[in-house]
């Protein structure tokens, strides 16, 4: 089946010289790459997409770029975007690809379906994506960046998975990627941090434990949520922050509101079940792509025409969407996913680090089709002691947040310590869970008493187990909270990411200094400097605004906390679970 298309592709040769292409329009733009719609003149002006990667600005080294183009040339499947050809034009690499006229699912959602797609359409596009994933995994490839922004749709409803910028092959010897012998397939463990934060599986973030194909399945599950809700979980946070949230967490008001709205949206049992299976914290409990394809959710799937009718009709063109996004938003970084330009790692790291509470994983809440955090401390009896003991510390912590904003470095120093301090936020969290409409269980209590939760979904028990297991592989002694050095180990890759961004900022400053010092000598550059100053003051203005926004949010959060606190007291008496928790607290 795929063979025919493949052979056809191999026969059709796109010219490898820039003069054969006529650029029609810009349709996407990131920091180091731009995507154009273009016509290939010698081929009857066939419309193509050209991704122009600036090899001077691209953070990735040439080897990574080479790996991506090679992967794209060697993968062939109807659901995978394959490059027609690639060649360099001065210091840009042009990758010529089929033009997918409806753009990425991310762009479709943000332009026309802010609350998500309907379930039947989700089933169709996910099934197509899953076909691609099955093929990739069968070929020994991990995609490592599955998300709506990398799923492209054509006008006929056909779906292709794109962007192999961070993909990896188990057959490609790369000592830095592999923790064990590359000659065997059963030990396919990768250790490097790759992908986009919101969609990253817990084991990828805790990358010291290694991950494999199942990490793609997690991202697939997050993508399902993204399509259902119009955004991935935690997406209100900047990406690097969402990484912290996966290990450290505090949920926000905006999330609850969103959640309530979504409750009107009914999702089928099979959809919830499918997503739940993908989001199991234990990778080994997640189904393979092959198994997932057999899930009832994908049975009786509608045809591609259905997607055309229910999603694509009346949709603004990719070009118009890009223009609109340009106008409505000053910040070009949000445009990154309009087609499939990816520069996630370059995104805003200017925000200060906020103290967050540590969690060890996520429980998928099937009822509301969202992720709930799991806190490691819940397994530890002695922790409840600390909760009470340090209860009043929470507010102190928060007043500290303001000061941290002054300097990123200052807050960076704080990172190891928030493991210590923020595990005390136990109480508030329970209140929050009540607001989610799902009574929160104290896991430790539950496992001790042997009683199953009263109105917990079936998945819950498994997740508790999974949670326990994950803790094991984190190699954390029960007294984690007292040994920040050990707890900080999984953070090392994240810290590196932040370090990288600091380096970038440093570079920007260095460039500025260079510019200015050059300007001293040659006054010709005065205009340039003025321009830079104007830009800088604009940035400063934006930063100020951001900071004030954050402060308002913080204020709101504090109010919620207070409300939540009172809420909790009133609910404690009526709720069995809370009684349990309180019981265990008082007995200590």
């Amino acid at each position: 089946m795929a063979v025919h298309e493949e052979e056809e592709n191999r026969k059709m040769r796109y010219p490898v010289d820039p003069n054969s292409y006529m650029i029609l329009q810009k349709i996407g733009c990131g920091v180091s790459a731009t995507v154009y719609k273009a016509a290939c003149l010698p081929m009857n002006s066939t419309v193509v997409a050209i991704k122009a990667i600036d090899l001077e600005r691209s953070r990735a080294n040439l080897d990574d770029v080479r790996k991506e183009t090679k992967a794209m040339a060697l993968l062939s499947h109807p659901n995978i975007l394959r490059a027609h050809c690639s060649f360099t034009v001065d210091h840009h690499l042009w990758v010529v690809m089929p033009f997918m006229s409806a753009g990425s699912l991310h762009s479709i959602i943000s332009s026309s379906f802010p609350d998500g797609l309907n379930e039947s359409s989700i089933a169709v596009v996910l099934k197509e994506t899953l076909n691609a994933l099955l093929y990739l995994h069968d070929q020994g490839h991990l995609h490592r960046d599955i998300k709506a922004g990398n799923i492209l749709v054509d006008s006929d409803g056909s779906v292709k998975l794109a962007d192999f910028g961070v993909s990896a092959s188990i057959y490609e010897p790369n000592p830095s990627n592999m923790s064990s012998s590359m000659l065997s397939s059963s030990h396919l463990w990768f250790n490097d941090l790759a992908g986009t934060p919101y969609w990253m599986a817990p084991e990828v973030i805790h990358s010291h434990v290694g991950y494999s194909f199942k990490a793609d399945i997690w991202s697939f599950g997050i993508t399902a949520l993204e399509l259902a809700h119009g955004r991935p979980p935690l997406s209100h946070l900047p990406p690097w922050k969402s990484l912290f949230m996966r290990i450290t967490n505090r949920l926000r008001l905006s999330d609850y509101d969103k959640c309530k709205k979504d409750k009107n949206k009914k999702f089928s049992k099979s959809f919830k079940d499918m997503v739940a299976s993908c989001l199991s914290t234990d990778p080994s409990k997640r189904p393979t792509a092959e198994k997932l394809l057999k899930h009832p959710f994908f049975k009786n799937c509608r045809s591609l025409d259905f997607v055309v009718k229910s999603v694509l009709q009346g949709l603004p063109s990719v070009e118009d969407r890009y223009k609109e996004a340009l106008q409505s938003c000053q910040n070009p970084q949000t445009l990154v996913h309009d087609y499939d330009v990816d520069d996630n790692d370059e995104e805003c790291l200017a925000d200060p680090v906020e103290k967050q509470r540590r969690i060890s994983g996520w429980n998928f809440n099937e009822e509301v089709l969202e992720l709930d955090p799991v806190y490691p401390s819940q397994n530890k009896e002695n922790d409840s002691k600390r909760v009470r003991f340090d209860g009043d510390k929470i507010f102190q912590d928060k007043s500290g947040v303001k000061d941290e904003r002054n300097s990123v470095t200052a807050s960076l120093c704080e990172i190891p310590s928030f493991f210590l301090e923020d595990t005390h936020a136990h109480n508030e969290l329970e209140n929050k869970d009540e607001r989610w409409g799902k009574p929160h269980m104290d896991v430790g209590t539950q496992s001790n008493s042997g009683e199953a939760g009263i109105d917990l979904n079936t998945e819950k028990n498994e997740d508790i187990l999974a949670n326990g297991e994950e803790q094991d592989c984190e190699l954390e002694p029960p007294s984690t909270d007292d040994t920040p050095m050990v707890a900080a180990a999984p953070l090392v890759p994240l810290l590196r990411v932040i370090m990288g961004s600091l380096d970038d900022e440093r570079q920007v400053l260095l460039n500025l200094i260079d510019n200015i010092s050059v300007g001293h000598i040659e006054l010709k550059h005065e205009d340039q400097i003025q321009h830079t100053i104007a830009q800088l003051s604009l940035q400063l203005e934006q930063e100020r605004k951001k900071s004030s926004d954050l402060e308002t949010e913080l204020e709101l959060l504090r109010q919620t906390m207070t409300i939540a606190e009172t809420d909790k007291i009133s609910k404690t008496n009526s709720s069995v679970e809370c009684n349990n928790t309180v019981g265990s607290n008082t007995t200590e």
Partner: protein
């Protein structure tokens, strides 16, 4: 060259293709044998008009299944680790003198579909590292069949990038063997071909060539040093004109990076001393330093340039150029910065600036 078809075992041919996976599993040797028979069969019957197309398709399918099975034995699967004994048995059979399976596979690759083609590449790659009684028998086989290396190198001439990349990755695995690397290095014909391939417009292929070339120039250090000593003149004339002065940005960037790596290697110190004694070489490197549009090229060129500056036996013509340009150079390096903080680089830069500044009074007489 091919084993003639009378060698084909009738029993092997009669095996029903489905039974191989359903009935009791074949031994690795049997799978190798069957793969060979299929290849011989398909090769000899390719032009036959009497042979039915459907039958041929069936054989092709069986062949790709067998290749997949070979790969499974060598790499294991998600459920099972590869078994060393099975791998050894497979390798031994694969490289048996009259099996010639590697030859048959390499020749048949263009007729395979993408998936089988990739499987072959991975199987061949893996076999280069398999030891039988602590010997890399793949190396022995290739030593006796060096013409296969020629076939692999000309694989880069394929327009189909799938094929070119398949040949390229097999070639890269083969030059892991020192004797094979020496064979390629010592053939001026092959080396000149590489210079041409690196300029292919197709990026996937050109960059694959570059990585093979890099492997060739860096893996077996003593062999490389010996080669460069013997072939210094023509090699660097070609290197300068075909790569460092190439109009193509990516070629220049990769070439100057590799040059720095090769010259800085301690085994190549004699080669380096000779390189930095040439005014022509200096001129080319200084041109690269002036490429303000590419910081990457500038920084890599700086690395090579430093070697000229620190040369204790600097020839007078090289010194003359440095002195004449010292002011310009100092100004240029003032603006040099790496993307990330690099204390080593900053120190090197300061050191080089110092030397250049000191050069001037010494030499104006």
């Amino acid at each position: 060259m091919y084993t003639d078809s009378s060698n084909v075992r009738i029993g092997c041919l009669a095996t029903n293709m489905k039974s191989i996976f359903k009935s009791k599993p074949k031994t690795p040797a049997e799978i190798v044998c069957r793969t060979r028979d299929l290849l011989v069969f398909l090769n000899t019957n390719s032009s036959s008009t009497t042979f039915r197309e459907a039958k041929r398709e069936e054989k092709l399918l069986e062949l790709s299944q067998h290749i997949r099975e070979l790969k499974r034995i060598l790499y294991g699967s998600t459920e099972s680790e590869p078994v060393p004994e099975a791998c050894a048995q497979l390798t031994k059979e694969f490289f048996k003198k009259n099996t010639q399976l590697l030859r048959l596979l390499i020749i048949f690759i263009p007729k395979l579909n993408l998936r089988a083609c990739k499987d072959v590449t991975q199987v061949v790659a893996n076999l280069q590292r398999q030891q039988v009684q602590s010997r890399l028998i793949a190396s022995d086989y290739l030593d006796a069949n060096k013409d296969l290396i020629d076939v692999l190198i000309s694989g880069y001439e394929e327009e189909d990038s799938v094929l070119a990349l398949a040949y390229g990755s097999m070639l890269r695995e083969c030059i892991r063997h020192q004797s094979i690397a020496r064979y390629v290095l010592e053939s001026k014909h092959h080396m000149k071909k590489f210079f041409g391939f690196m300029n292919l417009p197709n990026f996937e292929i050109a960059s694959d060539v570059s990585s093979t070339f890099k492997e060739l120039m860096t893996r077996h250090k003593s062999t490389v040093a010996e080669f460069l000593t013997k072939n210094h003149d023509w090699f660097f004339i070609e290197y300068n004109s075909k790569l460092l002065e190439n109009p193509n940005y990516i070629t220049r960037r990769q070439a100057v990076t590799l040059l720095g790596e090769v010259l800085c290697d301690r085994t190549n110190s004699a080669v380096m001393m000779r390189y930095v004694s040439s005014m022509d070489n200096l001129r080319i490197i200084m041109n690269l330093l002036r490429e303000t549009s590419s910081k990457n090229i500038q920084l890599e060129a700086f690395r090579v340039f430093s070697l000229f500056v620190v040369n204790p036996n600097m020839p007078s013509d090289v010194l003359g150029i440095l002195v004449v340009n010292s002011n310009k150079l100092v100004r240029l390096f003032g603006g040099f910065n790496t993307d990330k903080e690099d204390k080593q680089f900053d120190a090197d830069k300061a050191h080089i600036l110092e030397i250049i500044a000191a050069l001037e009074p010494k030499d104006h007489y």
